[in-house]
Amino acid sequence: MKRETFITLLLMALLFGAAFHGKTGDEPFIITLATKAAIFAIAGVGLNLALGYGGLVSFGHAAFFGIGGYAAGIIASAARNYAPVMTWPMEIAGSTSMPVIWLAAIVAAMITAIPIGIFSLRTGGVYFIMITLAFAQMLYYFAVSWPAYGGEDGLSFYVRNEALGLNMMDPWTYFAVCFGVLAVVLALMAVLVRSRFGLALEMARQNPQRLTASGIRPFNVRLTAFVISAMITGLAGALYADLNRFVSPSMLSWHTSGEIMVFVILGGVARLGGPVAGACLYLLLEEVLGDVTDYWQVLLGIVLLLVVLFARGGLVGLLAGRRAAHD
């Protein structure tokens, strides 16, 4: 087994262990925290496909996270109010079934990502960073000032949605669901980046000129990666909405984009387990340092700095060493 795969599995085991500890130690909040880490890890895995493997540094993934969240929120609250989600061009009823909501979130993220991707991919480098930010900010301000779904106040739907007749309000059950989704997404990602498409994507990042000269349009490859990436992040958004039983524009804000990005970079860019490591470490630090002092964010900043300065390639890079040229 390759070292990186091993580390990913180890990280997953740690995450699971932490949640299990919360269950046996009757500290449900640890489970909630682990759930949050799992969800952010999913969002990060999504972003990592664009940012890490595709070299498309999107500073606007909050848009997809938020769109996924709002899709979940709107559908669920419509179902609770017995109102249709929309009546035009066709009538769509609300639902409280998680699989339905996930699908809707994924599709919504996809529909948003296609136009954003088409426009954004005309640019490159830092310009790409900023144009994705621009689109996310547009959505953010729209959500803040659009009154229909609560504006800045957000939208509550009180109870988690349901699936398979499980009691999702039980933290452990919900954790298991999110953990399962994370595992599936990771497996998919592992396959994807080693596939033919993954090879093309890697070339699109490293040398688009060469890719073109070989007869493949970098644009198509990138757009596909960007949209898949958005769909995964959208799914994470739906899960996050369910975790909190609440969505608000803050899911769309640039802080969220930045946070997901920090998870990925901290854990290791273009490393399979990177987002998992990043999300876990960050949330753990937040939790532990918060108890130390009111000014805990200073400590958090210092720890982050130390990680950047001394762990090349993020946490996973530190543990797994340099990536080999062939795999």
Binding site: V126, Y127, A134, Q137, Y141, M261, I265, V269, Q297, L309
Partner: protein, 306 residues
């Protein structure tokens, strides 16, 4: 809507644009020219404002405050460059993102720790406040005219520095190939420290100047950061002229959008919803502008094609 009001709003837009340029000037140097993604720019801006407010309160002199803002930010800049940024030039840009993100946390909470959680008092000395009468019957705050002057001065200075001096050439050369410029005998490390400090000092000065007409409070740097990036990207990275034009364009768009959009919607719907829809759109407007510019000119208005 009188002509005088429209003219005044144009002036406001222009002035806001120049103010944006002042806020973005330091970043233009560090990000636009050195190619370093510095998210902590806003923190240096905040630091400058707090230093100015504290010194002005202690000494009673606004001018000493301004000097303090320059000094404090420059010193912070040197420290940051030497301790952290210097080790990241050879790395991926993304490492800079996370390091400077960490710096935001340290600076924000550090400032709160040093100065407390409450906004500070910083206002203009009498000599600089008040309004002057402009032709056309408009009275206009003196300080805003002053900001326009300072902005033009900084723009000119930076333009000359970057495009007309060897220092500027070396920084730009360092941005594309640090190793090579060093192999030609240039101490690029020291140069970068100096330029980073200069960028930081400009951020600090902007914080002090703008802070004296806005609020000096924790977190004041964050919106500035995003705005500054928008300005630079619209103008085209690496171009001082671009940053200036970009700033003015963003300033005009924002001001006129806030002013005109609600009125435009007022023509087709009732007043109350027109204000709310109009201002909702207005708040997105600069991002719409940025997206449009980048869709049609993928490297900004004055950026060099990749």
């Amino acid at each position: 809507m009188s002509a005088a009001l429209v003219f005044e709003q144009l002036l406001n837009g222009l002035q806001f644009g120049v103010m944006l340029f002042v806020m973005a000037a330091g970043l233009t140097l560090v990000f636009g020219v050195m190619g370093l993604i510095n998210l902590a720019h806003g923190s240096l801006y905040m630091l400058g404002a707090f230093a100015c407010a504290a010194v002005a309160a202690a000494t009673g002199s606004f001018m000493l405050g301004l000097a303090a803002s320059l000094a404090a930010a420059a010193i912070a800049g040197v420290l940051v460059e030497v301790l952290i940024i210097r080790h990241l030039y050879a790395r991926d840009h993304l490492d800079q993102v996370i390091a400077t993100f960490a710096l935001i946390l340290v600076f924000t909470e550090g400032t709160r720790w040093a100065f407390g959680s409450f906004p500070l008092y910083l206002t203009l000395p009498d000599a600089l406040s008040g309004s002057v009468a402009l032709p056309g019957g408009i009275t206009y705050p003196l300080f805003r005219l002053l900001i326009i002057g300072v902005g033009l001065g900084i723009a000119g200075g930076l333009f000359l520095l970057v495009n007309r001096t060897r220092l500027g050439m070396r920084i730009r050369a360092g941005e594309s190939d640090r190793e090579m410029i060093a192999a030609l005998g240039v101490d690029i490390g020291k140069l970068y420290t100096i330029v980073f400090a200069l960028g930081a000092a400009l951020a600090g000065l902007a914080g002090a100047l703008v802070g004296s007409v806005q609020a000096v409070q924790i977190g004041m740097g964050e919106p500035v950061l995003i705005l500054a990036f928008v300005v630079i990207v619209v103008g085209g990275i690496g171009s001082i002229t671009g940053a200036f034009i970009g700033a003015v364009l963003v300033g005009l768009t924002d001001t006129l959008g806030r002013f005109l959009l609600p009125q435009a919607f007022g023509l087709i719907m009732d007043a109350s919803s027109a204000t709310s829809v109009g201002s909702a759109l207005a708040s997105m407007l600069i991002y719409v502008l940025m997206a449009l510019v980048l869709v049609f000119k993928p490297t900004g208005l004055f950026g060099k094609p990749a």
